[in-house]
């Protein structure tokens, strides 16, 4: 029990930043906008979150600052792709380059500092319950925020008028526009939401997961989050499955190494990627999910 519980708790921590970032990007993409700048937005969230958390002594303020930083980056992206109809793929990649540079500049004087504060445990004493108490209630608020985001987004996209409209915009911005839907305003909100989530995911890294700042600390998690959105065929619950699959295999391969079976470490490190491909192929064969929003990545400008 002890070992399995420990593994599951580690998997939850490892999957959380992937899940938060993926859920945000999922909403952005559902509105028809492809933002490849997740890695850059995450880094900005991480550095801003840490700097704020360190200066104010509050993890919660840090997380909020991370969200704001992610949104600011997303706003820049939105200005380019919505405001002046710039190519989305290239802008997203440029956003990542900018994020790497800016986060490095902001964090230059914060390397090697330790954050004293721990994220507040919101369920406090419940974690001491027997059996699954620790597994269910011992996490920081980022973990529960991730769960809440999945539930909220799933509900929003399928059960609310605004969510259905957002999906309609992603499927066909021309039809939606003809029906009088404010296509660009909805997309702006979706992009900002994606940025907020990426920022929060980054802040989770620098405030809770490994509470310090080093340059480039996201180590490619933004890209994995993008892949998870595709893996999920743009469905929130599947994004959760994808994040946990990836995080789970990552942790599993580390655990297996600890038992010393002598399998090449390169093969072990490839497993999360291979597993994701294999599972995607299997679920693609028995296609039950949705496919990409029809107007994903297509530039839109309202003709009058």
């Amino acid at each position: 029990m002890g070992l399995i519980e420990a593994i599951l708790i580690t998997v939850i921590t490892a999957s959380t930043p992937l899940l938060i970032a993926a859920i945000g990007e999922l909403v952005t993409e559902r509105s028809g906008v492809l933002n490849l700048g997740v890695e850059g937005m995450m880094l900005m969230g991480a550095v801003t979150g840490f700097v704020t958390g360190y200066s104010t002594g509050s993890v919660v303020l840090g997380a909020i600052a991370g969200i704001v930083a992610g949104m600011a980056m997303a706003a820049l992206f939105a200005f380019l792709v919505l405001g002046i109809v710039v190519n989305q793929v290239a802008s997203g990649l440029a956003l990542t380059i900018l994020g790497i540079g800016l986060s490095g500049l902001i964090g230059a004087n914060y390397t090697g500092l330790r954050l004293e504060q721990k994220p507040p445990a919101i369920f406090g004493a419940l974690a001491d319950l027997p059996y699954a108490g620790k597994l269910l209630f011992s996490h920081d608020f980022f973990v529960y925020a991730a769960f809440a985001l999945v539930i909220l987004v799933a509900w929003f996209l399928t059960r609310t008028r605004a969510g259905l409209t957002l999906r309609a915009v992603g499927e066909s911005h021309t039809s939606a526009h003809a029906l009088g839907v404010p296509v660009r305003r909805l997309r702006l909100y979706a992009i900002l939401f994606g940025g907020a989530c990426a920022g929060l995911a980054g802040a989770h890294l620098s405030l809770a997961y490994t509470p310090f700042w080093v340059t480039g600390m996201t180590a490619g998690r933004g890209w994995i989050a993008l892949a998870i959105v595709v893996f999920a065929s743009w469905l929130p619950w599947r994004a959760m499955a994808g994040a946990y699959l990836f995080g789970g295999v990552t942790i599993a391969q580390l655990q297996v190494q600890g038992f010393g079976l002598g399998i090449p470490s390169q093969l072990m490190s490839s497993l999360p990627y291979l597993a994701t491909i294999v599972v995607l192929v299997i679920i693609s064969r028995t296609r039950t999910g949705s496919s990409a929003p029809a107007h994903l990545g297509v530039p839109f400008w309202p003709d009058r």
Partner: protein, 360 residues
């Protein structure tokens, strides 16, 4: 599209004049260049080299000017960066990653009057010296401490890539541990990265969950130290003193201190006595520094200090013969009483007592 090139040409003409006035200044100072493989903010390898650079600046006020280029990819870019440094008047250039070996040698041939120093390599030239640190000495000490401090008899080791330096570190650690407790168990996890704090933390958690109660790492970030602190187990830091991240967890840290060597070499260059040589400094030279021993009983502290003194004076060597590999084969003793430097530098086997297989 040729329009653009044309404009570039025009701008070139316009700017040549401006730059002539701005950049060219009389230089009496010795210009010293540093090439880093990672960002200076990595809080690990490159960060420590940059601390060394700062020590040089502080030691020779007004006499030297230092320049660094960070995050230089190993390959063609390195050659260009090194060449640009040489061309722009840098007379002493430190290239601080193994992958810079060939680029350094290539550029050195073209700039015979520039002095080059390549870290962790083994090829030299008239104007290319090599230097490195005997970090395995520190690993022997922490192996002994780990054996004393571990209650479960199992230590965890977070490793980056199976290169000789990391392998010799694991072996030295194990030999140290076995000198105290012959049946010591070690669990090694390779994270296949120098630099992924999240993954290092995950590896630390995996090791702790499997019963390791002392952690050692050969990766750069303080993530594992923080996990140890959180879980209430002990750990050793790497590269820099990480006690801040584990005030109750850190037993000691193996600190890379490049300052003394850099100061020595810059001084030689200033005095005109610089020669190409191979320098492999350890505890004796102050390249490898043990952070204050902490969170351990006094007898363990005394043992660690005694070992440190013996390694420093040369009375003891981490790889004292006979060294036996996993298969039970005794390694040829090329250095007389211990393995010679070449054997340590290229170490490619696990010593007896490590149950794992070395990833090839």
């Amino acid at each position: 599209m040729s329009l653009k090139n044309l404009t570039f040409a025009a701008m070139t003409a316009a700017f040549v004049g401006i730059a002539g006035a701005g950049v060219a200044e009389a230089q009496d100072k010795l210009k010293v260049g540093f090439v880093y493989v990672g960002p200076v903010g990595d809080f690990g390898w490159s960060y420590q080299h940059d601390q060394g650079r700062k020590a040089v600046e502080a030691a020779f006020p007004g006499k030297v000017e230092t320049t660094f280029v960070e995050n230089v990819p190993e390959g063609p870019d390195a050659e260009r960066v090194i060449e640009t440094l040489a061309k722009s008047g840098h007379k002493l250039i430190f290239t601080t990653s193994f992958g810079f070996m060939e680029p350094t040698l290539k550029v050195a041939k073209r700039y015979p009057n520039v002095m080059f120093e390549h870290a962790t390599g083994y090829k030299r030239d008239k104007n290319v010296a090599t230097y490195s640190g005997r970090f395995y000495e520190g690993r022997y000490i922490i192996g002994q401490i780990a054996a004393k401090m571990s209650k479960s008899g199992t230590v965890g080791y977070i490793a980056s890539f199976p290169i000789p330096e990391v392998v010799s570190g694991i072996n030295a650690f194990m030999l140290g541990a076995q000198s105290v407790k012959p049946d010591m168990k070690i669990k090694v996890i390779w994270v296949s990265s120098w630099f992924d704090p999240g993954k290092e933390a995950d590896a630390a958690k995996a090791l702790i969950s499997q019963g390791a109660d002392v952690l050692s790492q050969h990766t750069d970030s303080p993530a594992a130290m923080q996990e140890a602190e959180k879980a209430g187990v002990k750990a050793f830091g790497q590269s820099s003193d990480m006690v801040k991240f584990g005030p109750k967890a850190q037993l000691t840290s193996i600190v890379d201190d490049w300052g003394p060597y850099y100061i020595k070499r810059v001084k030689a260059a200033l005095d005109g006595t610089w020669k190409s040589e191979d320098f492999w400094g350890g505890l004796k030279d102050g390249d490898v520094v043990m952070a204050p021993y902490a969170n351990m009983p006094d007898d363990v502290k005394a043992m660690a200090k005694a070992t440190e003194d013996k390694l420093r004076s040369g009375a003891m060597h981490a790889f004292t013969c006979p060294v036996v590999d996993q298969a039970g084969k005794t390694i040829e003793c090329k250095g007389g009483k211990n393995l010679d430097d070449g054997q340590v530098l290229g170490m490619n086997f696990y010593v007896k007592g490590i149950d794992d297989k070395l990833p090839q």
